[in-house]
Amino acid sequence: MKQLKVDAIKKGTVIDHIPAGKGMQVADIINISGENIVMIGISLNSKKVGKKDIIKIENRELSQEEINSIALIAPSATITIIKDFDVIRKAKAEIPELIEGLILCPNPKCITNSEKIKTKFMVTDEKPLQVRCHYCEKKYLVDEVKIKI
């Protein structure tokens, strides 16, 4: 049987080892619409993690802020910056203590949903990732919140 292969990219960013099923969500938060070529692999076999998703973006280097937001939904993802088909940098996704402007508060009575305010969430637990809204003080699992695009 012929093996289908996701093309290697010359220059850009590879986000690998995304937990299977989270790929589209990651693609959403880094906003892949535009002129760059993007390849998304869903449910690929992985020796390391069984099944995984992968995203390759040509000609674009992700900012640290974008990398950190990926960490929120796919903490196991590895991010590599490629130039001339070579890895020039492995970026580490870090979950900051304070997450600003990235998460929408699910509480409909929270002031961040009625005024134009940059949301602020404190990380209260890492495994599973839990955050507390600075304003309404409600605690949420990151799986329950919406990540702003």
């Binding site: 005024e115 134009k116 809204c133 003080e137």
Partner: protein, 301 residues
């Protein structure tokens, strides 16, 4: 300290400082003079009692108050942002005291204006002045906040007053008995916090169960509206009404507290027993609010 927004912000030392100043004011050892100071009372949600208590407190320390009620009397209706409303009011008053149905509103206000902000209740979130006056009532009747056995009865799921109180007491090694119908139980996130801090609690369904072990019984109202089926309400209602006959065998130092208004969860024949403390508790609220305003306005030298 500039603002009072959430019990979560207060250290044990700060909590005790509020107690100390309230006591000095009550005893007449401290006579704050807030002459020419104006408090803006912004009540975006009706609450006659809390408003009255704050207004009384401000007047007793020589200050004055202006009041804005509801959203209809403000410019909010005209499309002005909340931030603009607040910044305008901050030009007139030395302190803003705010009640709002929006959670986090007071926190946000404190970030927008330069004058001190007191949270007088923000939705289901926090009501720190109530928690502080409750603690003051406990310390006055028990002589300490440490190692007490506290029963909390009623709507434990939605009651922000009990959430703030339980949080605040957690600093003082309490034992809790939580008494409520099963669907109005204390939320898991609060129980998790207690477990983390190794605080002992048990959950009960009858108000008289273990009443003889309690130092304080804090009763709150169960709102009929919470029940999907009124028949269910009628069935459980009686389990959460404190009757005089249940008070046989309680500890000598036992006191019944209630944030008021009471509907029928404490039978009126409890009122003239030595255990009833809900009306003095309301009075303590004025001392505590005098203390809070004085501290935030820099009136304690």
């Amino acid at each position: 300290m500039k603002n009072l927004i959430s019990m979560r912000d207060l250290s044990k030392k700060e909590i005790l400082y509020f107690m100390e100043i309230a006591k000095k004011i009550e005893k007449g050892d401290l006579n704050p003079d807030m002459d020419k100071k104006l408090a803006a009372l912004l009540f975006f949600e009706p609450s006659t009692r809390t408003h009255f208590s704050f207004a009384t407190a401000m007047k007793k320390i020589g200050g004055q108050t202006i009041t804005m009620r509801g959203t209809s009397s403000s410019s909010v209706k005209k499309g002005e942002t909340f931030a603009d409303t607040l910044q305008t009011i901050a030009q007139y008053a030395e302190i803003i005291i705010m009640r709002s149905p929006i959670e986090g509103a007071a926190r946000y206000a404190s970030e927008v204006v330069d004058v001190p902000v007191v949270n007088a209740g923000d939705g289901a979130n926090q009501h720190p002045t109530q928690a502080l006056l409750d603690l003051y009532s406990i310390i006055k009747t028990q002589g300490t906040l440490e190692n007490l056995t506290i029963g909390v009865a009623g709507d434990l799921r939605f009651g922000r007053t009990v959430h703030s109180l339980v949080q605040a007491l957690s600093e003082f090694n309490p034992r809790f008995k939580f008494i409520s119908p099963s669907f109005l139980k204390m939320p898991t996130y609060i129980l998790d916090d207690l477990n983390e801090k190794n605080i002992k609690f048990e959950e009960l369904t009858e108000i008289y169960e273990k009443i003889d072990e309690l130092d304080i019984l804090y009763v709150t109202r169960i709102q009929k509206e919470r029940f999907a089926d009124l028949e269910d309400y009628e069935k459980v209602k009686g389990s959460y009404i404190l009757e005089r006959s249940m008070l046989k065998g309680v500890k000598e130092n036992f006191k019944v507290m209630h944030p008021l208004p009471r509907v029928d969860e404490i039978s009126t024949d409890v009122d003239n027993t030595e255990f009833a403390y809900y009306f003095p508790q309301a009075k303590n609220g004025v001392y505590m609010r005098q203390a809070i305003i004085t501290i935030l306005l820099g009136g304690v030298k």
